[in-house]
């Protein structure tokens, strides 16, 4: 005779298991499906001269750039903001950081187990192209990858460097989701670009007079 207790506990176990697996599935589904909607918004944004277009009406973010790594055949759309509800749908640009193509450090974060899983394959020397909504493309070259402890300090905003930082959690296949380590891909703008100027095209650039 099966005791009702063991039947109930088995049922509970099954329920809990399916909840856990379902959550994981949902996370992956969102990560896989959202970019399709984002692509459409991006196309509209490009067509409308860079005006932000939300991928779905209640979204609190919009695609602001395309990130391409030709060597890995990776192409992803970067959303504005890097809060949890943005990163669920795609890599996000930290709003307080510089816009790519302006003076300062531009930070793009992504989840290590979805969109930014490919970061582990990036090696120094590879090219990164960031295309802005205005159509302008900025070429970066990966100079290094490193691992930092986020609990020991953030990203310096006022150091005067022109950098693109791609950030994801580290180690890539750790179980815990709130570890302190971050994997960073550090890229500097290609020197051949002349227009690497602050907030506008004047300033630190040269005045050819």
């Amino acid at each position: 005779m099966v005791s009702p207790l063991s039947r109930i506990s088995a049922l509970l176990l099954l329920l809990a298991a399916s909840h856990q697996l379902g959550t994981a599935l949902l996370i992956q589904l969102k990560a896989q499906l959202a970019p399709r909607l984002v692509e459409r918004a991006w196309a509209q944004s490009l067509a409308q001269d860079g005006r932000p277009v939300k991928p779905w009406p209640w979204a609190d973010t919009w695609p602001m750039a395309r990130l391409e790594i030709p060597a890995l055949a990776e192409s992803q759309l970067v959303l504005a903001g890097d809060t949890g509800n943005v990163l669920a749908f795609g890599p996000g640009h930290q709003r307080a950081s510089a816009m790519p193509g302006t003076r300062g450090v531009a930070v793009i974060g992504g989840h290590r187990d979805t969109h930014f899983r490919f970061l582990r394959h990036i090696v120094p020397g590879q090219r990164i192209v960031v295309q802005l909504a205005s159509g302008r493309a900025i070429h970066y070259r990966v100079v290094a990858t490193d691992i930092v402890d986020a609990s020991k300090g953030g990203i310096a905003i006022d150091s005067g460097d022109n950098l693109l930082l791609l950030v994801t959690c580290y180690p890539f296949d750790a179980l815990s989701s709130d570890g302190p380590l971050r994997y960073r891909v550090i890229a500097t703008p290609e020197p051949r670009q002349e227009a690497f100027a602050p907030s506008a095209s004047a300033g630190a650039g040269r005045f050819m007079l």
Binding site: S6, A17, D161, C169, S176, F207
Partner: protein, 725 residues
């Protein structure tokens, strides 16, 4: 045979313990092993994380060298010469820019000045040549500068971004050449509690820029050439439209006095006409000499790093401190005066009234380092001053704000303990969203109901470094929502935003205090709490003769130690009437007659340089304050611009520009525009933003889910076994 033996033992066990041991062996043990195994797996992930951290720390990549070279191409050093006579300091500040690179350069240097400084002279020096600057309407000055820059002429433009933040630009510095910009400004000396002091800021704490920047701003292209970009680290936002002008870059590494990145040289001459007991500089080592009653102060080591405010304090021999003085200057055919009056202390302190004190403490990223320690200590000290009948609350803010209690709570021992614990755990991180915190602190309605009526005194003590870019909007909030509350600011850190501290306290009808050193915390907070107990003199008025224009036009309430200071324009003739000053001191009426214009007055000094500039500066400041009271920019501009031009003073609407006649840069050479970085304020940790959270729980979900499935499978297997048996 061991197996046989084992079976025998098992059989014996089953006999001896019946179903219990069987159950233990086959039910409990596998479950325990499984649990232990999964714990091990989970633990291993953490261990691996630790190991990889140890690996990376040796090999951190340093990228600063490339850009470090670029920013250091232009070196800056500042020489300051201060002449103090009476209540007025005349300061000459010389910035020397040296081009160490191989290109022609334009230097852009954002620098701080005292918020009360009236800048009245600019001179550019190239080798032996001196070019005197002109005061011009701001846009016009920019136009002159831009044309001179394009023509290859040496030129210099100094603009006011905030009353305490200026930008200096020098165009066409040849490789290896030095160009100096020399400014002269006039400033009132502070007099508080019988002690004089003078503060000279040297660097700028990175300010938080709220608001969002329009994405398209970046792409504006050639239109933005019409303005002069500030080369700051922030982009203009909807709430701080000049963010790039007020956010100068910082040297990546902190400076030191032995080999300063931005060197400060300093000389102060004190001519007070009275003997002094003490001359003290809390943050710098000084060398003091005295000749014929004039004290001369230089830095003990000759130079210092520009990473903290310079403050000089001096105290007259007791009894010789002035209780009233009037300084006069004749400028452009008119007389100007500055009145100083120390009201008498009340005979006895009024009975303490119950009060509500709200502490608002800034825990934003810019407070990181020594500042947050100073803030914690100040709060801990302040809590000791609370009386059992007081009510209090603590609000901390960074990107959002959080209050210790839902509403102000009585200062019972239990509550004070809670507060002490709360204060100990304050950490500095995140943005500086000051406005909601201020609004929360100033909103008194929530506190008042029939059980806890509004106390007679409601005081907000605001502990911050003031590192925000939207000061004006905050002043408007204070004016609008102050109500019966009083706002007292406590400036923290090596380089607080002094303009914000002073103005917030003025609009909040309280006082401002600075704490730049942990050692000062005790004495400063004690003094603040003495002041807090009540304003010492209220509704003060001076009966000026007709035709005289005093600023400030309404005299604020004075707290303990504060003197009455009014700048006046007296007109073409000196009045011959006596001055009658009236008001309430403590709980009684008080009046005094001052006989300054009889020629018999000992402190009367003829033609006191700088008084006219102080008057004009006070008037401009009062006019600018009208913005917070709802006047629009055009109204203010129409009044400030002619005044600033007449007195040749820098203002938000007027700038100084100096242009050399001969072009020096050959047409073929390009001009490189370079920011001159400030030095990081001493003790401040680097400004950072947090890394995003970049892991989902998916991996853990899959693991846990699989594990639970496995358990369920086990359970089912056992159940079948049970049914079989």
């Amino acid at each position: 045979m061991p197996t046989l033996q084992l079976n025998r033992i098992l059989a014996r066990d089953i006999q001896r313990f019946g179903r219990l041991s069987w159950w233990l062996l086959f039910r409990c043990l596998p479950a325990l092993i499984l649990a232990a195994l999964s714990l091990l797996v989970l633990g291993a992930a953490a261990v691996r994380a630790q190991a990889s951290l140890a690996e990376v720390e040796g090999g951190q990549l340093i990228l600063r060298d490339e850009s470090g070279q670029r920013t250091a191409a232009l070196a800056q050093r500042t020489k300051v010469d201060v002449e103090v006579t009476g209540m007025i300091a005349i300061v000459t500040l010389e910035q020397q820019f040296r081009n160490r690179g191989g290109e022609w350069m334009e230097g852009v240097y954002a620098f701080p000045l005292p918020e009360q400084g009236a800048v009245r002279h600019l001179e550019m020096r190239v080798g032996e040549r001196r070019i005197v600057g002109e005061i011009r309407e701001r846009a016009q000055a920019q136009q002159i500068y831009r044309e001179a820059r394009a023509a290859g002429k040496k030129s210099s433009l100094v603009e006011q971004q905030r009353p305490n933040l200026f930008t200096s630009r020098v165009a066409n510095i040849a490789p290896g050449e030095s160009v100096s910009v020399r400014l002269e400004y006039v400033q009132q000396v502070n007099f508080d509690g019988g002690r004089f002091s003078l503060r000279l800021p040297t660097t700028i704490t990175p300010r938080y820029i709220p608001g969002i920047s329009p994405a398209r701003q970046v792409e504006q292209g050639s239109e933005t050439l019409s303005v002069l970009p500030g080369l700051g680290w922030a982009k203009p936002t909807d709430r701080v439209v000049d963010a790039d002008q007020i956010t100068p870059l910082l040297h990546p590494r902190p400076g030191n006095d032995d080999d300063p990145r931005n060197a400060l040289e300093l000389r102060v001459r004190l001519d007070m006409g009275m003997p002094l007991t003490e001359v003290h500089s809390p943050y710098h080592d000084i060398a003091l000499s005295r000749r014929a009653g004039i004290y001369e102060i230089v830095l003990a080591r000759g130079v210092a790093e520009m990473d903290r405010d310079f403050e000089l304090q001096w105290t007259p021999v007791s009894g010789s401190a002035p209780s009233a003085a009037f300084f006069i200057e004749k400028f452009a055919g008119e007389y100007y005066g500055l009145l100083l009056l120390v009201p008498p202390g009340p005979e006895r302190a009024p009975a303490p009234t119950p009060r509500e004190i709200v502490f608002v403490v800034d825990t934003s990223g810019s407070m990181g380092g020594v500042s947050i320690r100073q803030a914690r200590q100040s709060l801990a000290r302040a809590l000791q001053h609370l009386r059992p009948e007081d009510r209090f609350n603590i609000i901390q803010f960074n990107s959002s704000h959080h209050a210790l209690f839902r509403r102000a709570a009585p200062a019972t021992r239990h509550n004070l303990q809670l507060a002490g614990e709360y204060v100990r755990h304050l950490r500095a991180t995140g943005g500086t969203e000051m406005m909601p915190a201020l609004q929360a602190a100033l909103a008194p309605a929530a506190a008042a109901d029939e059980f806890s009526p509004q106390p007679a005194l409601r005081q907000v003590i605001f502990i911050t470094d003031g590192a925000v870019g939207n000061e004006q909007a905050l002043f408007e909030v204070i004016v609008r929502e102050l109500g019966p509350s009083r706002l007292f600011t406590v400036g923290i850190g090596s380089a607080p935003n002094s303009w914000f501290m002073r103005k917030a306290a003025e609009f909040g009808r309280g006082t401002y205090t600075y704490i730049s050193d942990v050692a000062e915390v005790g004495a400063t907070m004690d003094a603040l709490f003495r002041q807090l107990s009540f304003p010492i003199a209220t509704s003060l008025t001076v009966d000026w003769p007709d035709g005289v224009e005093p600023w400030p036009s309404r005299i604020p309430d004075l707290y303990l130690g504060e003197p009455l200071l009014v700048a006046v324009r007296l007109g073409a003739q000196l009045p011959d009437a006596d001055l009658l000053v009236r008001g309430r001191v403590g709980e009684r009426e008080w009046a005094t007659t001052l006989e300054f214009f009889q020629g018999s007055d000992p402190v009367h000094v003829d033609d006191h340089r700088g008084v006219a500039a102080v008057w004009a500066r006070s008037k401009i400041s009062a006019l600018l304050d009208m913005k917070a009271h709802g006047k629009d920019d055009d109204w203010v501009r129409d009044r400030v611009l002619p005044l600033a031009l007449e007195h040749r003073l820098m203002s938000p609407y007027t700038s100084f520009v100096a242009v050399e006649q001969q072009p020096s840069r050959p047409d073929a050479r390009a001009l490189d525009s370079n920011p001159v970085p400030n030095t990081r304020p001493r003790g401040q940790s680097p400004q950072t933003f947090a890394y995003p959270h970049t892991a989902t729980t998916a991996a853990a979900n899959v693991w846990l889910g699989s594990f639970l499935l496995l358990l369920a499978l086990f359970a089912r297997a056992f159940r079948e076994e049970e049914q079989d048996g």
